[in-house]
Amino acid sequence: MKGIVFTEFVSMVESQFGEDMFDDILDAVQPKSEGAYTAVGTYDHQELVDMVVELSKLCDTPVPALVHAFGLHMGKVFSEKFTSFFIEAGSTIKFLEAIDNHIHVEVRKLYPDAELPVFSFEHVESPTEHFALHYQSTRGFADLALGLIESTSAYFGETFNIDREDWVEGDIHHAIFRLTSA
């Protein structure tokens, strides 16, 4: 997983829970990287999972909630670091449509070995008109995805009702987010 996720995690933990919290997590998890994360590096995603789990214990908050909060944080970071994608899209739906076709394509040009989730979509007519975003990944970070979606719609000043459906098939985690304009 790309270093930026880790550095942003550290940043979120330190700002929300203090720098000492991160030391404590490291002491408990003992990650191979020793916690020396740089945004341009690449690290084992399991380290992140382990750190989140440890954080959940230490601050007594369920994992999904933490991941979701992290998703919101990441969304904000993306909108600041990669504003051009947002401006290009112009709206939440257009942005979500662009993730697979455009944004992740650009990412892979720079980082051919990036492991990224798949975000396919569909404009559904019936029974009610809505936009369906289908998340698929070997990592189970659907909550992160939700946080990103919500943060994106906040960026564009749009509001949606979001229904969510999760399941696992083999080693693929699936989640469908159905968005209807509020």
């Binding site: 203090g18 720098e19 030391d23 020793e34």
Partner: protein
């Protein structure tokens, strides 16, 4: 939110983490840089190899293009040469046929000769078509405009077709609208081709009814329409009518003959005039072809090199003529012709042999072919005029007439530049040659003719600043009075050049400006004002090659030069009037009647005698209408159109009452 702890151990650990992260970032950066550099080098190498490849391909393409152009040039040259090779013996055949037809022949023999002539002329037509087509394709034809007297031109043009129509039993109508001015600037050779093609097609495909030619004007667009009541053209065929090698369909070719090139050439010529050609037709009813052209009226009439005064009758016989010609058939034809007129003819096969003749004997006229082995006509003329090659001094100014197969302006200019006095196109038109020879010796009285054998020292050659008087005089056989009047004429005609030019600039009329300059270029050269001629030529070229109008400087300078000549000319004491023409003879009506009847009789017996009689008659004082009719006779005879000539003579007889 907890504040950061100040525990040294934690701080040290954070520091360690930061340092480790930074170093890793640096390492990653270095890796990426190296990668980038490698990619960059790859790209450079690829770019260079691509550039080399492009350069290579470009050269290959240029070579292929050059080869194609060369092949095209070879083909064009081949066609031009072949046409020349084909036409030369053919002209020989036609020349001999013409001579034969003037012998006394019985009816059967006459018929055979007529058939042979017709076939020969047809073949010549086909060869000319092929050459024209090829030249047009290779963009080697340029139009040369000259003032044309429209009504006589149309009359002359239609005469043979009128004859043909009569023989076919169909009516032939010609209509030239009143609004059409007398003189238009036209390339008459090409215009003739266009109209002749249309007329001959109309006649070819019409068996009953009529064929008519109309010439109408709408502002400055002129419409020439040829309509007929012939077999017409189907709609399907109308589309392909102007395509090369396609006649309406193959059955037409078989039935009516033709190369299929005529229409295509016509269309291309019309395009060169900047005009349009269209056709309407109904199968079984008839067709109408119409050509729309934008033409300029001609306010000026070009000065000719040879000043002609045909009313003066000077004997052509007893002249000593040097014929310089390498082709044996042409030699024979020309010799017979000239000896028939009573001249003494000496032969030289090339320029060098001509010089040998001219170093031993004196001659009155030299007829000079241009293309000959050993030494050609241009070079020979240069030698003669500069007295080289042992040429006798009396022969240095001998009148030389160029016999040219090519009559492009460039060639004619070249002939003038080396000092030739005139030119005649091959195949040689007898009447025209007769006229040119007479005019060249015609300016001299008998006394001057004998004095021509002495070195021409003219003490009273005036000096006119800016004018090469000697060169101008040489062109008019040292007739000073004539030359001065030509100079005056030039100054008068071109005195308002700048004003006219300014108008052209205002109206953005490059065509008119070009033509005016073209005229000045020619006439200035003729009267020996090289500077003016050269400047006019420069300005003409600039006008034609550049998009925008050149600055007015050159035009101003040109006007200045003309005015200087005018000024210096006025300084010369020239109180004398223009050279008086030799007085016309007064004759009685009865004498005129006799002449006419004599000519009429001779028309079908001895054509040359008829011509001679006509020339004599024209030296008499005649009424204006009679003069006009006789000039038509003259033109008809120039085309060997005895029928038209006979018709005109009838008219003349009727006029006498």
């Amino acid at each position: 939110m907890n504040h950061a702890s100040t525990d040294p151990a934690r701080l040290i650990r954070r520091l360690e983490r930061e340092r480790k992260a930074r170093q890793e970032a640096e390492r990653l950066l270095e890796d990426k840089s190296r990668e980038l550099f490698a990619k960059h080098m790859e790209l450079e190498a690829l770019s260079q190899s691509l550039e080399k490849l492009v350069a290579k391909r470009t050269i290959e393409m240029q070579q292929a293009r050059d080869e194609a152009l060369y092949a095209l040039q070879v083909k064009t040259d081949f066609i031009a040469n072949m046409s020349h090779e084909l036409r030369t013996p053919l002209n020989g055949v036609l020349g001999v046929m013409a001579l034969l037809s003037e012998q006394s022949l019985n009816e059967q023999q006459s018929e055979l000769v007529a058939v042979a002539e017709a076939s020969g002329k047809h073949l010549l037509g086909v060869i000319n078509d092929i050459l024209d087509f090829s030249k047009i394709e290779a963009n080697k034809i340029t139009l040369e405009f000259a003032a044309l007297n429209i009504r006589p031109y149309v009359k002359t043009l239609c005469a043979p077709f009128e004859l043909q129509a009569k023989q076919k039993g169909i009516a032939f109508e010609v209509h030239v609208d009143d609004r059409i001015p007398d003189f238009l600037m036209v390339d008459s050779l090409r215009l003739t081709q266009i109209i002749s093609n249309l007329l001959s097609n109309a006649l070819k495909f019409t068996d009953k009814g009529s064929v008519s030619l109309s010439f109408n004007a709408f502002e400055d667009v002129y419409r020439i329409s040829v309509s007929d009541t012939g077999i017409g053209i189907s709609e399907a065929n109308l589309e392909s009518i102007f395509a090369a090698f396609e006649q309406a369909d193959t059955s037409i070719t078989r039935e009516f003959g033709g190369t299929g090139l005529g229409m295509s050439i016509t269309k291309q010529l019309v395009s060169m005039f900047g005009g349009k050609i269209n056709v309407t037709s109904e199968l079984g009813k008839g067709s109408c072809f119409y050509v729309d052209l934008s033409l300029q009226t001609a306010d000026e009439i070009e000065l000719y090199t040879d000043t002609v005064d045909p009313s003066v009758d000077n004997p052509v016989d007893t002249l000593r003529i040097l014929l310089v010609e390498d082709n044996t058939i042409n030699q024979m034809v020309a010799t017979k012709l000239l000896e028939g007129w009573g001249c003494n003819v000496s032969l030289a096969e090339n320029g060098q042999l001509a010089l040998d003749h001219l170093s031993k004997d004196t001659f009155d006229i030299v007829l000079m072919d241009l293309q000959m082995p050993v030494m050609g006509g241009i070079q020979a003329t240069e030698f003669i005029r500069t007295g080289k090659g042992g040429v006798l001094s009396e022969n240095m100014d001998v009148p030389i007439i160029a016999m040219t197969a090519h009559s492009s302006q460039a060639h004619i200019d070249e002939c003038e530049q080396v000092g030739m006095n005139g030119h005649i196109s091959k195949p040689i038109d007898k009447a025209l040659l007769h006229q040119k020879i007479k005019s060249l010796i015609g300016n001299m009285s008998a006394a001057e003719q004998s004095s021509q054998h002495e070195t021409p020292i003219n003490n009273s050659v005036p000096e006119i600043k800016g004018v090469d008087v000697e060169s101008g005089l040489a062109r008019v056989n040292h007739d000073l009075e004539l030359y001065l009047s030509l100079l005056q004429r030039f100054c008068k005609d071109n005195g308002d050049f700048y004003t006219r030019y300014e108008v052209c600039v205002e109206q953005d009329n490059k065509k008119s400006a070009s033509m005016a300059l073209h005229l000045i270029k020619g006439s200035a050269a003729n009267v020996g004002i090289e500077k003016v001629s050269k400047l006019a030529a420069e300005l003409e070229t600039e006008l034609q090659t550049k998009q925008s109008w050149p600055t007015l400087n050159k035009a101003e300078r040109l006007q200045q030069l003309i005015e200087e000549v005018k000024h210096h000319l006025a300084l010369v004491d020239n109180n004398k009037d223009k050279a008086e023409k030799a007085p016309l003879r007064s004759v009685s009506d009865e004498q005129i009647l006799n002449y006419l009847q004599d000519i009429k009789m001779q028309l079908n017996q001895d054509f040359l005698n008829a011509e001679a009689g006509l020339q004599e008659l024209l030296t008499c004082k005649l009424s204006a209408p009679m003069q006009g009719i006789l000039e038509n006779v003259q033109q008809a005879m120039a085309r060997f159109d005895t029928l038209a000539a006979a018709n005109d003579i009838e008219q003349a007889l009727e006029l006498l009452g």
